[in-house]
């Protein structure tokens, strides 16, 4: 069993990447001088400026918060930041409307109505904390540690996760960041290159590349400032762009070649490309010889996959796929084979699809080079001792991730396994949930199952800013401070222009909202846990910064940000020393073979839509983060609801015109809210697309409530990934209802016989 070794690898991956020299180059922010009373200047001019870090999404851009007369009036990027400079995105600009949202939870609340009804009464902090602590102790005493579960995402959740770990449960979810999103791609790259090329961040050097391949990644719609800047910069400098996507995305609009692939067949295309590259000697022979293991096995395993076959399976023009791979090959090694990010698509083949991408990058020698995949630069700051618990979780008897051989190196348990255990009581009962920073019902497939599970709980509490549909199921809500009202960790950026920065409050928390550190500290005290022993945030931040001769005060003096030299590329004279078993790129993955999983990727078709159905696909809009920002006054105004993209030929056959109102119904009979049709040639006829996160079911979100359609409430069927237990999101099929009639989607692109159809459950 190689699991332990696998675990070691992930630790080694940090150490193996060269240690870096530390050098501060901080200088004082240039102070601007104005005549007259500064605060009287128009617009945001003359504001008091506080450097901080954004949390409108998880990318965490350095920002400057502008305050006038005690109110936040503007948020801009921190000009000292090498990643975004003075820029922030639409969401970053709209943080003010999260802070001042009248719907915010500003006081501790206790449920008075039925669970899920959303009726509460205001209680004191003491009462709220006592009640949470009492219930945790009670459930732990009665059912054991494993009966406690925690669903976590974002900065606040990091504190509470320590509490649950210290309580001895493995049932925290590291979600949605992992089991709904990056899990499969993380496993693929960890297994192939020994480090996570795509986790929270994607270590690809797009600004210096000559060609970029995107497979289902919607850069520009999925918007992270520094990343998109690198993408745009690369294109402006002449990089070619190949976009493989059933939908004509923003990126497709900028592409040299758009390949509207049949969903579920990406691996077929990638395998045919790998074979083509090998057969036509388009790979970097020297790199492969020196730095890769298993080339012979790879070559043998892919030899049957040719372009003609792929063209038929993928429903693409053979000429186009040949042109595409030749463009990519001609650019090597300065080619970005984009690793992807949200990869929990089909459940079964997800890890292998991303393995193919990693292998293709390796064949091009595009590892550790300018314009290819690069290495994160280690930043020598540990965690503050007083923040992180010393107690390790006890080894669980029946961990929920046991059946997933590659889940072990990652913290927590698969989200859907926690939900299923709660529902069934097997392998052990789960009776208490804590929720922080994640709207479960809008995130995890089959929200109907999640609601049933919540009904089985003895107690559920959440730490939240907004009364989301998940929060309204809670027995107690603890009001969290927004990122503009608190300190957090020291944030390390290990990309091409490394830096550290930190969040600090611009104003005091509104109402009785409190910083997560304070809340967690209070809770830990009541639970008798020796966590969060520093007096406050500044104390733990100082203990962390001390290691590099800094303090909160000094860092703020330096403009809130200190840069480091990067070590992103390999030394061309030396061979690669990757943190894998062999120190090389694992084209053939022995760890997979040990677990009876394919050591070299194979094409296994994912079931196609049943007759009369289209596959439901989803994506992002650049002004919203998950389902978190739909109630933000400004962002809501910018993009209040989603539309369903329908292929123009399909729409013509069904008599649907642009702007018509329709309803979607999925294979299990679940119906959506009414939604407007966007009729376009920019989508395949066998898919329907809606942007994610809309259609809120919480009446307390007065702006977002019932606006648009929730993709998640149509995702009722999911498949678990066999490697680490991610749950699939692209395994659902829909029909259109118009004027009360259910319309069959015509099949305009016939299905090859190798691809089976999804079979609808009877009854």
């Amino acid at each position: 069993m190689k699991r332990r070794q696998f675990l070691k690898l992930s630790a080694a991956s940090c150490a193996a990447l060269a240690a870096m020299e530390f050098k501060t180059k901080g200088f004082l922010r240039p102070s601007s001088s104005y005549a007259g009373t500064k605060e009287q200047l128009p617009g945001s001019l003359g504001s008091k400026e506080i450097t901080s870090v954004c949390e409108m999404c998880f990318w965490r851009c350095p920002i400057v918060v502008k305050v006038k007369n005690g109110k936040v009036v503007k948020i801009e990027g921190n000009p000292r930041s090498p990643s975004n400079g003075s820029r922030v995105c639409a969401r970053g600009n709209s943080g003010i409307q999260l802070l001042y949202d009248p719907d915010r939870v500003k006081y501790p609340l206790k449920r008075v109505g039925a669970r899920g009804e959303g009726k509460w009464t205001r209680i004191s902090w003491n009462e709220a904390l006592d009640e949470v602590a009492h219930n945790i102790k009670k459930v732990k005493a009665k059912y054991g540690s494993h009966a406690l579960a925690f669903f976590d995402h974002g900065a606040s959740a990091e504190y509470f996760r320590e509490i649950f770990k210290a309580l001895g449960t493995e049932n925290y979810s590291n979600e949605p960041a992992f089991f709904q999103c990056v899990g499969p791609v993380a496993v693929a790259y960890l297994s192939t290159l020994g480090y996570i090329v795509s986790g929270t961040r994607q270590y690809v050097d797009m600004s210096n590349t000559k060609a970029i391949l995107l497979v289902g990644s919607h850069l520009g719609e999925n918007l992270h400032v520094s990343h998109v800047r690198e993408f745009v910069e690369g294109l402006a400098r002449g990089a070619k762009l190949i976009v493989v996507d059933p939908r004509f995305s923003t990126a497709a609009g900028k592409a040299d070649l758009w390949l509207p692939i049949r969903p579920g067949t990406d691996t077929a295309l990638l395998l045919a490309w790998i074979n083509y590259v090998i057969q036509n000697n388009l790979y970097d022979k020297d790199f492969v010889k020196k730095n890769c293991r298993g080339f012979k096995e790879l070559k043998e395993a892919v030899k049957e996959y040719d372009l003609k076959w792929a063209s038929r399976i993928c429903d693409l023009d053979q000429k186009d796929i040949k042109t595409a791979i030749e463009i990519l090959a001609a650019s090597r090694p300065q080619v970005v084979i984009y690793p992807g990010r949200h990869s929990a698509w089909y459940g079964k083949g997800d890890v292998q699809r991303h393995r193919c991408l990693a292998i293709l990058a390796a064949l091009f020698g595009a590892i550790g080079v300018r314009g290819g995949i690069y290495f994160p630069t280690p930043i020598p700051i540990g965690e503050a001792e007083c923040l992180i618990g010393v107690e390790e979780a006890e080894e669980s008897d029946t961990p929920l991730k046991e059946k997933f051989p590659f889940a072990d190196p990652f913290p927590g348990s698969p989200t859907d396994e926690i939900i299923k255990a709660t529902l069934t009581g097997k392998p052990y009962p789960i009776k208490l949930w804590g929720v922080c920073g994640v709207n479960l019902l809008q995130t995890i497939p089959n929200p109907y199952q999640t609601m049933e599970a919540i009904k089985k709980l003895d107690f559920i509490f959440s730490v939240e800013i907004l009364p989301t549909e998940t929060a309204i199921w809670s027995d107690i809500i603890l009001p969290d401070a927004t990122y503009l009202e608190r300190y957090d960790h020291v944030y390390k950026n290990d990309e091409l222009h490394p830096f550290i920065t930190l969040r600090q409050p611009a104003i005091k928390p509104l109402g009785e909202a409190r910083s997560p550190y304070w809340i967690a500290q209070q809770l830990a005290k009541r639970l008798g846990l020796s966590l969060f022993t520093c007096e406050n945030e500044v104390a733990y931040l100082n203990s962390q910064l001390k290691e590099i001769g800094l303090s909160v005060e000094k860092l703020v003096q330096k403009g809130g940000l200190v840069t480091f030299p990067a070590k992103s590329y390999r030394d061309p004279k030396k061979g690669l020393q990757l943190p894998t078993d062999s120190g090389k790129v694992e084209l053939y993955c022995e760890n997979f073979a040990d677990e009876d999983l394919d050591p070299v990727p194979k094409f296994e078709p994912t079931p196609a839509p049943p007759r009369g159905y289209a596959r439901l696909i989803y994506g992002r809009v650049p002004v919203h983060t998950f389902s978190r920002t739909m109630n933000n006054l400004w962002l809501h105004n910018e993009w209040p609801e989603n539309q369903v993209w329908i292929n123009d030929e399909v729409a013509a056959r069904l008599g649907i015109k642009n702007g018509d109102t329709v309803i979607l119904v999925n294979q299990d009979g679940f119906k959506s809210n009414p939604i407007k049709a966007k009729v376009t040639p920019g989508i395949r006829p066998d898919v329907l697309y809606v942007a994610h996160g809309f259609g809120s079911r919480s009446p307390r979100l007065t702006k977002a409530y019932q606006k648009g359609v929730s993709d998640q409430f149509l995702i009722t069927h999911y498949v678990e990934d066999p490697f680490m237990g991610a749950s699939s999101h692209r395994t659902n099929f829909v029909k259109i209802i118009k004027d009360g009639k259910i319309l069959d989607i015509p099949e305009l692109r016939p299905l090859p016989p190798e691809i089976p159809r999804f079979e609808i459950r009877k009854g």
Partner: protein, 250 residues
Amino acid sequence: MNAKNGHQYAMVIDLDRCIGCHACALACRAEWQVPVPYRRNWLKRLGPEKTPYGISQTFYPGLCNHCDAPACITVCPVDPEEREFRCPDTGKTIKMAVRATYKEPFTGIVLIDKERCIGCGACVEACPYGARYLNEELDEPKADKCTFCFERIRYGEPPACVKTCVADARIFGDLTDKNSEVYKLVKKGAIRLRTKEVDLGPNVYYIGQKKDLHLLKETCAPRERTWENVKAPDRRRIIMAIAKQLRNLG
């Protein structure tokens, strides 16, 4: 371009760089606290649609064009009043009779004098780009629109939309300065949204792929505004405001 007295500020928007993130629209809203649902600038999403040059999906990041011959100024019913303008760079002054909305002589920026605006909304109706709105949230409604961040540029700050632009797609500068990037890009063939019928000399330019510019021009060209276009309640408001002003004068 209108360079009689000095400069003409202009903006070039590079649709090849623009990724349609809407940051421009939000930074403007934040900077000037523009109340929802009004806007001083906007981002419209176009396509995907077929064009003679292939499928296009692009964006219309729009704002006041600070036209050379602004229709909004012509229709302003407020009596012209003499005002002195001063160039902050040279100290030079100019006296000019202006209405409640006017083209600032040293920058070519079209501004609104909020003190004198009577809130009739005639300028809002006249703009073929829909770049103005009447802020009816105020006790006394006033017209409002993009100022190219006139106040900010005086303090050496770029316009809010330019400063926040994630993709560096907005290039702002003085079109009369031959060394400016806007001048060079305009020389190179940046296009403007204008038609044979409606050409007010807009000072916002666009560059990009042929297919994207085609879709932009097809869908977002300015439309001629006539009194017949104005809806009944808006007409009434304009007439009432003018009548009230006449009464006050009388």
